[in-house]
């Protein structure tokens, strides 16, 4: 059976991990390559690197990092952040990234999704959607969640699929950082209305939250950052718990 995936997410600025990471026995907790290898050994199924560099120079450093990760890490990884063109994607894939994740640029110019999927294949095109509830409606936001777009989450998600996205990464801004669980009602609706895999993001705090997002939210994968980085949840422990709940995982 296809297993549910556990995906640690690393924020990268100028080629270095940004948020504090609290692993034991790490020589350099700011080195994304060291961290990525560690996560691969701990049983992560995939990795996501989110580039939050603001400068061109910073982006170039990230490209070097992508190459080093591809050299040393034997599980798939996605790179997101600031990707706006076919050329941006081409250079990332050539550097060894398996998938790219686009967000604001897809909202500004939806045809980018078509261009990427026809040139590189749907399998490497992840569309990330940040959304929060306003007056009972799930409204998509862009620019790191700071600007509301005139888009409903479910309409946009269906359009993204129709344009050739291979996967959807949905972050609930209402749940992100709360450690209070994933947005399972919205996730489960996305999963039933779409036929591409859905990654749940935002709200992971406990092992039970992961169980719930797979069983109730019907997510195909779950992404989290701080609970993994600070060792609050060990991936092996998490997966053993998922298995006990009859959720198929790679152990």
């Amino acid at each position: 059976m296809l297993t549910k995936r556990i995906i640690p997410c690393l924020d990268i600025k100028n080629g270095r991990t940004v948020k504090g990471v609290n692993f034991i026995n790490l020589i350099d907790a700011g080195d994304p390559v060291v961290l990525a290898k560690q996560y691969a050994e701990k049983g992560a199924d995939e990795l996501v690197f989110l580039d939050i560099s603001a400068t061109l120079e910073g982006r170039k450093t990230t490209l070097d990092m992508v190459l080093k990760v591809a050299e040393q890490v034997n599980i798939p990884f996605t790179v997101g952040g600031g990707i706006a063109s076919v050329e941006d994607v081409d250079v990332l894939l050539r550097s060894g990234a398996d998938k790219v994740s686009i967000n604001s640029s897809a909202i500004k110019r939806p045809a980018l999704i078509n261009e990427l999927s026809s040139k590189f294949g749907s399998q490497c095109v992840v569309v990330a959607i940040d959304a929060k509830q306003i007056d009972g409606q799930w409204i998509v936001h862009l620019a790191g969640g700071s600007v509301p777009a005139q888009l409903n989450l479910f309409d946009w998600a269906k359009e993204v699929e129709a344009r050739g996205a291979g996967e959807l990464l949905f972050t609930s801004m209402d749940h992100d950082g709360t450690k209070d669980g994933f947005a399972n009602t919205a996730l489960s609706r996305l999963s039933s209305e779409l036929n591409i895999p859905i990654i749940a993001s935002g709200g992971a705090g406990t092992i039970q939250h992961f169980v719930d997002t797979f069983l109730i939210g019907k997510a195909d994968a779950a992404l989290a950052a701080s609970v993994f980085h600070f060792g609050e949840i060990e991936i092996k422990d998490l997966k053993e718990n998922l298995k006990r709940n009859q959720i198929e995982v790679r152990l």
């Binding site: 199924d45 590189f120 399998q123 591409i196």
Partner: protein, 193 residues
């Protein structure tokens, strides 16, 4: 030993090259027929859309060369699918090494299949040291049916060929270069054939 990765513009060549490097091999990337013919082992990767990839093979004149190769050849993902008779993707004629058709998964499951799934009924020296039901990383919307060349099966919607072999030709639907230590072992087994 000379390992050549066919570089025809539709491949995750970098990842495959790095995976070989980690095993101590130094593969060449090439689309030069002479270089490919002279190799001890040939790896034929591929990601993207079948018809585009086949057109790129034709442009390089590799569509005639590949089926005639005599050394061990390993097709990966789309590379494996292009070695088949035909694929529903873009209604494309394949290289015809494996006499089997490649079809699209039905919409009763999520398409693409993306993630880790098990390989079963392993029947080849390619899988030496690999236990039945080992997990491999797969990303694909089309699958090769079960056939006389099947050497591994995977279950997604239905049982299909996750690996094929005919004579010196091997094909794997999964990505050994991205499938952790077990994937590396399979790649190593191929390079040591």
């Amino acid at each position: 030993m000379k390992v050549v990765i066919i570089d025809y513009g539709a491949g995750n060549t970098k990842s495959v090259q790095f995976a070989c490097n980690r095993l101590g091999f130094e593969p060449l990337l090439s689309k030069d027929p002479e270089v490919i013919t002279a190799a001890d082992k040939v790896i034929f990767p591929g990601v993207g859309q079948a018809r585009n990839a086949m057109n790129m093979l034709k442009t390089s004149g590799l569509d005639n060369l590949i089926p005639q190769l005599k050394q061990p050849v390993l097709g990966i993902c789309l590379g494996m699918q292009l070695l088949c008779r035909s694929t529903e993707e873009g209604n494309t004629k394949g290289l015809g090494v494996f006499n089997v058709e490649v079809k699209r998964f039905s919409n009763t499951v999520k398409v693409p299949q993306m993630g880790w799934n098990t390989i079963l009924n392993l029947e080849s020296n390619l899988f030496e040291g690999i236990k039945n039901e080992a997990y491999m990383y797969l990303v694909h919307s089309y699958y090769a049916e079960l056939c006389e060349h099947t050497i591994a099966q995977t279950d997604y919607d239905l049982k299909y060929s996750s690996a094929l072999r005919k004579d010196n030709f091997y094909g794997v639907q999964f990505h050994p270069e991205k499938s952790s230590t077990e994937g590396a072992q399979i790649l190593k087994n191929f390079l040591k054939l």
